[in-house]
């Protein structure tokens, strides 16, 4: 999982290494470090923004270790579903079990339907919907799209995807 974290360091040498070590020690992969020496906090500390990949269950131990070392953890952001896309559906969307269509994505574990907007002009007429898919990565998003395509093709629904 990708985690972003805002921390604050004391303004003395060696603090940055002190803050990064626990992430590596627990198998994390550091993606970005923004060390803003010129932007001190009112209490004279230096703000640092970290982004790293780490197994979710190890996060508490990393935070604990940082605190032991005198690093102040200000904010932790977990962004599980990073990638998203909008697709359109045209056809008998609701009457062909829209719940099942959504479930086909949600049950993957790596992708979810996070937005759905349906226009239904009349009972017998075809409806149109925009569906927002989110997934944990680009590859997973593409896989979710393929699953959705297969699901709606079976139901005779037209799917329109972004170029």
């Amino acid at each position: 999982m990708e985690i972003s974290m805002d921390i604050e360091l004391q303004d003395i040498p060696g603090q940055l290494v002190l803050a990064l070590e626990p992430v590596s020690d627990f198998g994390g992969n550091i993606l970005s470090v923004l060390h803003q020496r010129d932007k001190k906090t009112p209490s004279g500390r230096i703000p640092v923004q970290l982004v790293f990949e780490l197994e979710e269950k190890r996060l508490d131990r990393v935070v604990e270790r940082l605190k032991e070392r005198g690093v102040k953890v200000v904010r932790i952001g977990k962004e599980r579903l990073k990638e998203s896309m909008v697709v359109l559906l045209i056809g008998h969307i609701v009457h062909s079990d829209v719940r099942d269509t959504i479930d086909s994505i949600d049950r993957t574990g790596f992708a979810e339907v996070v937005g759905l907007s349906v226009s239904m002009p009349g009972v017998a007429k075809k409806s149109s919907a925009s569906v927002t898919l989110s997934a944990i990565g680009k590859k997973e998003l593409e896989e979710a799209l393929q699953i959705l395509k297969r699901t709606v093709n079976k139901k005779g629904i037209l799917i329109i995807t972004p170029i």
Partner: protein
């Protein structure tokens, strides 16, 4: 620009004298002086033929005669002794311009016309998609064997240069894919539906009334026309040996005003997009195009984005249909044979 001093006479025949054939005669008349001055060419029309008959003058048909045929106050002669094929074979000329209607089933009569011309030693310039979609490889091999040119810029994107752009101007680049709107009728319908919130059937009728859609619009709205153009691009740019059957095709008849509205809410427009890439994927489907993408052009315009390995993305936009626009591509093909 190099100014040519000597003048070379190029005799041509126009096979098929409908809108495009008439357009070719018109641009040659309009541009006569300029073509002579800039390219050193004197283009003479020595024969015209279509289903109604034939008109031949080995010294060149006069402008009045051609104008008369265009206006309809003079008619092509029905001649028992000469068919269009005989004209191509027997009347001496250098370039045969094949502009009969497209037939994607077997490519005829264009296919026979083109083969006859190449076999009797004429260059061929065509706007007819049928023969190229059906027998691309065979025709190219025949042209190469006879050391004759077979040019077809007008088949894809009308006036919009794409085939010569890729082959000449982008020479040295690897072409990764070509993606675009290659049918002005579909673009017009989708643009109007989005702008006015009108249903498909309504806008189609309107397009038919103003002559943008044909009485039988199926070739356009079902994506067949776009698919045939993709086949030509696949074969000419990506060196494939594809036919219409290799293209996955979905048309625009199911698109609803609601869908266009939902697309707009999400920052997209819906366009009928043709895509071909060097992995062999050939697809015509309605797609979501981001509103700020260069492919988002409205009305009857055509557009194509060419993805290349060196030059990055190149996008061309132009008029996809119309007799003068198609004639523009045909004229530049004729001139380029002699440059």
């Amino acid at each position: 620009m190099r100014i040519k001093t000597g003048i070379k006479t190029v005799r041509i025949s126009i096979i098929g004298f409908g809108n495009v054939g008439g357009g070719v005669a018109e641009v040659i008349r309009r541009k006569r002086e300029e073509i002579a001055r800039r390219y050193g060419l004197n283009i003479k029309i020595v024969g015209i033929a279509d289903l109604r008959g034939i008109s031949v003058d080995e010294n060149g048909l006069s402008e009045e005669a051609i104008m008369g045929l265009r206006r309809g106050d003079k008619k092509l002669e029905k001649r028992a002794d000469m068919t269009s094929v005989d004209l191509i074979k027997e009347v001496e000329h250098e370039v045969m311009v094949e502009v009969t209607p497209t037939n994607i089933e077997d490519g005829e009569p264009g296919l026979t016309h083109i083969i006859t011309a190449l076999e009797s030693g004429k260059h061929v310039v065509t706007s007819n998609k049928g023969p190229l979609a059906v027998e691309y490889k065979k025709l190219m091999e025949r042209a190469a064997k006879r050391e004759k040119e077979l040019r077809f810029e007008a088949t894809v994107g009308g006036a919009m240069p794409i085939i010569s752009l890729v082959r000449k101007n982008l020479a040295g680049n690897g072409i990764l894919s070509i993606t675009g709107i290659l049918n002005g009728t579909c673009n017009y319908i989708l643009t109007r539906m989005a702008e006015e919130g009108l249903p498909y059937e309504h806008v189609l009728k309107e397009a038919q009334e103003i002559g943008i859609a044909e009485a039988d619009p199926s070739k356009d709205v079902e994506g067949i026309d776009t698919a045939v153009k993709l086949v030509i691009l696949a074969n000419s740019v990506f060196d494939m040996n594809a036919t219409y059957k290799d293209v996955e095709v979905t048309g625009i008849a199911e698109i609803t005003p609601d869908a266009l509205k939902l697309a707009d809410d999400a920052g997209y427009v819906i366009k009928l997009i043709g895509e071909v890439d060097r992995e062999g994927c050939l697809k015509v489907t309605p797609r979501l195009v981001p509103q700020d993408d260069p492919l988002n052009v409205g009305g009857t315009m055509n557009v194509a984005t060419i993805k290349t390995d060196l030059a990055g993305d190149i996008t061309v936009i132009g008029k996809g249909a119309g007799p003068i626009e198609a004639a523009s591509a045909i004229l530049s093909d004729i001139i380029s044979i002699y440059r």
